[in-house]
Subunit: 353 residues, 2 copies
């Protein structure tokens, strides 16, 4: 099966459980009040509406690298990172003041719209407050999903400690990202560190290790996962940066050029700046962090990134990292898990969403 | 020993562990970058600078109701609710746009001030973003504190599930609180529900049950704690409302009248409105939700609350609830724990901070 098919086959197992879990939490909330029930439904809709489920899939197939039993239990526990992801996206969208996510309204924008106040500042404050709380609820549910899963307690404790570590590290990545978008002196190593924390550790390494922990894999094999996960995560981020500028909004679900508007110094942009003429550099620098950027300006930046060779260089770098990841994968893993990890590595740089 | 002495004796055990734990997390963060280290230090300063430690004390003495061994372990695990509290306060302060907390700047105001941007909107966004993240980090550390404590894994899992439930419920309370401050039709039962979720369950019942869970107490005894905790928590909130209007800012660390300015319909205010003349009612309604409220206006509201008899009624209600709580306490608890629970019940309505 291809990576897409393997992802879909896993999603079909995940989504009914995720749906049922959030429904049961909504039922509990309904006993408190209809507003609490409404918040849980919003978290459910936000979580169900999208994403490739790549992070929980890494838990599932990471687990499959070591054992094949307790199938439903590992799918249940794998919800933890999807709920963590909802929580982080909800909070990130507030910070970035984004209105759209996964082709729909962001949590805070949706709450702001639901509010009856005429005054827009009051609506925005309301939306931000309710979405901050919704994110906080999703965060607690993520931990609960592991704690309530049917694995031996000592393994669940080890997984929860890992999940907390993942959460702290992705928060550090987000803090550095916020800091860098408010500063002008962002360097390549800053971007690399942010990508390691926000993508490599969070999207690949952490979930894979969670899968290994739930399978009871020894620590040595957990750290072997890192040599695969870190370069793959870096490649994943580079591909994300490329899709952010060259992708199709209908497929990515994210407005083209939003990284530019937010002033994000991606690997792609930093590399373009390094290769650009001073005139080209001015154009890019003026585009960075300009929230009013028009499509024609984005098109100009796009052509500069191509002309300088930064696009090709970034694509090649991502491909090299994928090869590095694949060759670092231990040979003695179970084929059900290992085959996915090899397939997903290629998918990471070939995907268009 | 008096409740204050028992609280202090516990705090002396908690604070060195809390300090050491946050220092060790700051050391880990320093390996990532100085900005991450700085964030951990801010969380540490925020957490160390204040509070009565009443929530973790309920874990400690709730545990002492059943057993006396593993003293240091339970103090370590009890950090969880103090970190949860830091996280919730940091996020609440953003929502309420408060600048001061515990006599110092709030997390977001402090971050906003540290930012070099000249433009105040940009500083505020930066402060809010960094404080949201700092709160998220504190949340993960709260879970980690239980997971890393030295109790049997099955007990820790039960405690973590309870902590997640506490977190979800306090978030629901906060959501209802935000909703009520944006609406004009808040009723007494809404306020009662918010107080149950935000104070009774969160401050008293939840921590007590966590202590019982860590001690391995049977479920029947955990639910017996509720009959003590719920009325005591309600009384705690009424006293908080009274201190918010009649307290000494130097002792409470919170500006007098801030509940009024935020439009909070406390038990005290709702009861005043019920008893007030239409003229008095207008004065209170005009004060509610007015952020520009002057000290002389607050003084007028204060005298109305006294004149209507709402102050005396609220004080008496709180005292009755305290008696109800005390009489609901099971007789067969260990004296070390039980004596604290009796003493703290009286303290709740006699405290001035």
């Amino acid at each position: 099966m291809s990576a897409t098919e393997l992802l879909q086959s896993y999603s079909k197992k995940l989504e009914p459980l995720l749906c049922r879990y959030l429904d049961s939490k909504a039922e509990e909330a309904e006993k408190i009040s209809s507003a609490c029930w409404d918040m849980l439904l919003r978290i459910k809709n936000f979580t169900m509406r999208g994403g490739k489920r790549i992070r929980p899939a890494f838990i599932y197939y990471g687990y499959k690298c070591f054992r094949q039993d307790y199938e439903e239990e590992v799918v249940f526990a794998s919800m933890c990172v999807e709920l963590l992801h909802s929580y982080l996206l909800i909070h990130d969208d507030i910070m970035d003041e984004d209105e759209f996510r996964r082709g729909c309204m962001t949590m805070h924008a949706d709450y702001a719209n639901a509010h009856i106040a005429a005054e827009s500042q009051s609506r925005a404050s309301f939306g931000n407050a309710m979405a901050t709380i919704a994110g906080d609820v999703a965060s607690a549910l993520g931990i609960d999903a592991i704690a309530a899963s049917n694995f031996p307690p000592d393994r669940k404790i080890k997984a929860i400690i890992k999940l907390c570590e993942i959460e702290v590290n992705v928060c550090h990545g987000q803090a550095l990202d916020v800091l860098s978008s408010y500063r002008n002196d962002c360097r390549e190593e800053d971007t690399a560190l942010i990508n390691t924390l926000k993508t490599a550790c969070y999207t690949v390494e952490g979930p894979l290790q969670l899968g290994g922990i739930l399978a009871g894999a020894p620590d040595k094999q957990l750290s072997a996962f890192s040599d695969y996960a870190i370069p793959l995560g870096q490649a994943f981020q580079i591909q994300d940066d490329i899709l952010g500028l060259y992708g199709d909004q209908k497929q990515t679900g994210k407005p083209i050029g939003s990284d530019l508007k937010e002033g994000k110094k991606t690997f792609l942009i930093l590399n373009s700046l390094k290769r650009a003429t001073s005139e080209q550099r001015n154009i890019i620098n003026n585009a960075l962090g300009n929230p009013e950027l028009e499509p024609e300006h984005i098109a100009i930046v796009r052509s500069i990134v191509e002309e300088t060779g930064a696009l090709e260089y970034s694509r090649n770098t991502a491909k090299l990292m994928v090869e590095q990841a694949k060759s670092a994968l231990p040979k003695d893993l179970e084929p059900d898990g290992r085959d996915f990890l090899l397939a997903i590595a290629d998918y990471v740089v070939n995907r268009n969403n």
